[in-house]
């Protein structure tokens, strides 16, 4: 994030800081101590605990069948939820940024909804709609369709929770870019689809990649909503975060932290790639980030 800030502030005088150096160091020191205590230390603990009994115990956590199933399910869920949200996010932000229509603000608000709803509620609404006692539960049972406590329910909950990531990133980016380039393409005889593919998409590619990254990290890491709809059936409906909890509750602390380290590793890779993207394409991305 820090890399993106200088770009937005270009043109500002070099130093407007009036505080003395002692105050400055005190502030910086406090911030660093805070981060170390609440972010770095827990993260390090995860890895320390994971390797508490050596490499072999660490690797043993991943040879278990239930762990394989959890990894597989997490990948499947992300493989469905992320593309869905990419397609939806591009469509929504295209519509919102390039066109004027009634109810536009309402649509933007609705897209933001999952950010403000507690994940537990996100899970419960699906139980209330698709559960056996739910709104369309009896119909589903009649037609032998299992949604809650099965993969479709987990995918739905994940899609709901990760809904805003792509759209929220692309809407401000597209708004900033305006419609001039597309209009030029259309004037030159390109079809709408052609203009979208050759003009709009290349313009938003870095912002898109950036949002896909964040969306994916959340999709793989979601706990609350998924926990409500999963039913916790071992080897069938447990995702990685749920598997971590189960192992912890079975006093299998090394395995629990080993699997947690996988998720922490995913977070670190996401962070690294994200910072890399911000560093190289800060102009594109900052336009999106400023819209928040």
């Amino acid at each position: 994030m820090s890399k993106a800030i200088p770009h937005g502030d270009i043109g500002r005088p070099a130093s407007v800081v009036t505080e003395g150096s002692r105050v400055r160091w005190l502030l910086i020191g406090t911030a660093i101590a805070f981060l170390a205590l609440f972010l770095v230390l827990p993260l390090v603990t995860v890895f320390v605990q994971a390797f508490a009994k050596g490499w072999e115990a660490y690797l043993a956590a991943f040879t278990e069948q239930d762990a394989h199933a959890a990894i597989r399910l997490t990948l499947i869920v992300a493989a469905i939820a992320v593309p869905f949200n990419v397609v939806f996010g591009i469509m929504a932000s295209w519509a919102i940024a390039k066109f004027e229509f009634a109810g536009k603000n309402l649509l933007v608000t609705l897209i933001d909804l999952p950010f403000s709803v507690s994940p537990v509620v996100s899970g419960l609404i699906y139980v209330l709609v698709f559960g056996a006692q739910g709104l369309i539960g009896p119909w589903l049972i009649e037609h032998d369709i299992q949604i809650i406590f099965a993969v479709p329910g987990i995918v739905l909950a994940t899609i709901f929770v990760t809904f805003p990531f792509v759209a929220r990133q692309l809407i401000p980016l597209m708004q900033e870019q305006g419609t001039a380039e597309e209009e030029a393409a259309l004037t030159l005889g390109a079809s709408g689809w052609h203009a979208f593919r050759t003009v709009t998409l290349p313009n938003i590619r870095w912002g898109l990649l950036y949002s896909v990254l964040l969306c994916n990290a959340r999709a793989m890491g979601e706990f609350g909503a998924v926990s409500v709809v999963s039913g916790h059936i071992r080897g069938l409906t447990n995702t990685l975060p749920l598997h971590v909890e189960i192992l912890y509750n079975e006093y299998n602390f090394v395995a629990s932290f080993a699997v947690a380290s996988l998720l922490a590793g995913l977070a670190l890779v996401t962070l690294a790639v994200k910072s890399g993207l911000e560093w190289r394409y800060s102009a594109d991305i900052a336009a999106g980030a400023r819209g928040h």
Partner: protein, 363 residues
């Protein structure tokens, strides 16, 4: 979910990249990746499973128990019929597990912590016959248990009996009786103790239980959560818990950190099992699911119960050294003090029941 469908998701995006000429617009491959990933993943969600699978929805502390039982049943069934079954398990607070069955988890059998949770499934979802108690021997109880105390090594607070739980300097760790069967047994055990002691005065027993819960700093949703709170996070002085759970802590954390205190009297805890009729008929697994429940009454399963510190129905099937670990104490049945299970549940744990009244008064 076979491995080859899985590898599809893994390789096809790469193929999508390879087809692009270098330097051409990247977003195209991103879109292709998404589309292919979507298509490849779709069939996986709907893949029907060919082999027979049983799902046992169970309560919190039975994780280790049913790992052993399930392996033994799978081997036994294979030897008897040649058929390979897979038994899956889901664990959580007994009350929340009942809720997932009501909400539609396709459980073939339920093995819960307290009879009223199975009654709730029967009443609210009609998936279990209301007379489930009569379908299996001993009211559907292949084993029973009781509540004992786990304390810190050397018992520094000198906890000996239920009466000690209301001392002002004692912190008691127990799960929430609303969601956990173990929590309800603890609640009822404390109530029964006071009821007998106070000359069968229900009001005094209610007040005693209220005092106990004033000493409870954390209410976890399941028995296992409370155990982790007590043993791993080091909170509290005493953990009234399932006998089996207390001994499991011994095995997992070592006997040098904790002591088990067996009170002179405790409750006869009844964790029953039942077939989920509607689900097995729909899935066509009645034969295997019934065999699974019958297997719980076999000598092999009874020995496994005793090994995991549950009290087996057939003591003669268990190893003597396992039985020696189950101490003799005076056990009372809550039905003898409070009547049938509908009443027990309603009076104590339903909305507005004794537990709610006590928590309100305690605030």
């Amino acid at each position: 979910m076979s491995d080859d469908t899985f590898s599809q998701t893994g390789t096809s995006p790469k193929a999508g990249f390879a087809r692009r000429t270098p330097g051409s617009a990247r977003p195209k491959s991103v879109a292709a990746l998404c589309l292919i990933g979507c298509l490849a993943a779709m069939p996986m969600a709907t893949t029907a499973l060919a082999q027979t699978e049983l799902l046992n929805v169970s309560y919190d502390p039975t994780r280790e128990l049913y790992k052993d039982i399930n392996a033994a049943f799978v081997a036994d069934w294979k030897a008897k019929t040649g058929e390979t079954v897979v038994v899956r398990a889901a664990h959580g607070g007994s009350g929340s597990q009942a809720r997932t069955v009501i909400d539609g988890i396709p459980a073939d059998v339920v093995t819960l912590g307290i009879p009223s949770d199975i009654d709730a499934i029967a009443r609210l979802s009609k998936k279990i016959a209301p007379d489930w108690r009569t379908k299996l021997p001993n009211q559907g109880l292949p084993y029973t248990s009781t509540v004992v105390f786990l304390v810190r090594k050397g018992n520094p607070k000198g906890v000996k009996d239920w009466g000690d739980l209301v001392k002002p300097d004692i912190k008691v760790i127990t799960p929430n009786p609303k969601t956990s069967a173990g929590g309800r047994w603890n609640f009822l055990a404390a109530w029964g103790y006071a009821y007998e002691k106070e000359g069968k005065d229900a009001d005094k027993a209610n007040a005693f239980v209220g005092q106990v819960y004033k000493n409870v700093p954390v209410l976890d949703t399941g028995a296992r959560g409370s155990t982790v709170t007590f043993a791993q996070r080091g909170l509290g002085d005493v953990l009234p818990t399932w006998e089996n759970e207390a001994y499991l802590v011994f095995d997992e954390f070592g006997r040098d950190k904790f002591d088990v205190v067996v009170p002179p009297t405790s409750i006869y805890a009844e964790p029953p099992v039942a077939l989920v009729d509607a689900n097995v008929d729909k899935k066509g697994t009645r034969k295997q699911a019934e065999a699974y429940l019958q297997f719980l009454y076999s000598d092999a399963a009874q020995a496994i119960f005793a090994k995991h510190h549950y009290r087996p129905l057939k003591r003669e099937a268990a190893r003597p050294e396992d039985l020696a670990q189950l101490p003799d104490l005076k056990l009372f049945k809550i039905e003898d003090l409070q009547g049938n299970w509908d009443d027990i549940q309603k009076k104590n744990f339903d909305n507005g029941g004794l537990f709610d009244q006590l928590s309100k008064a305690g605030r």
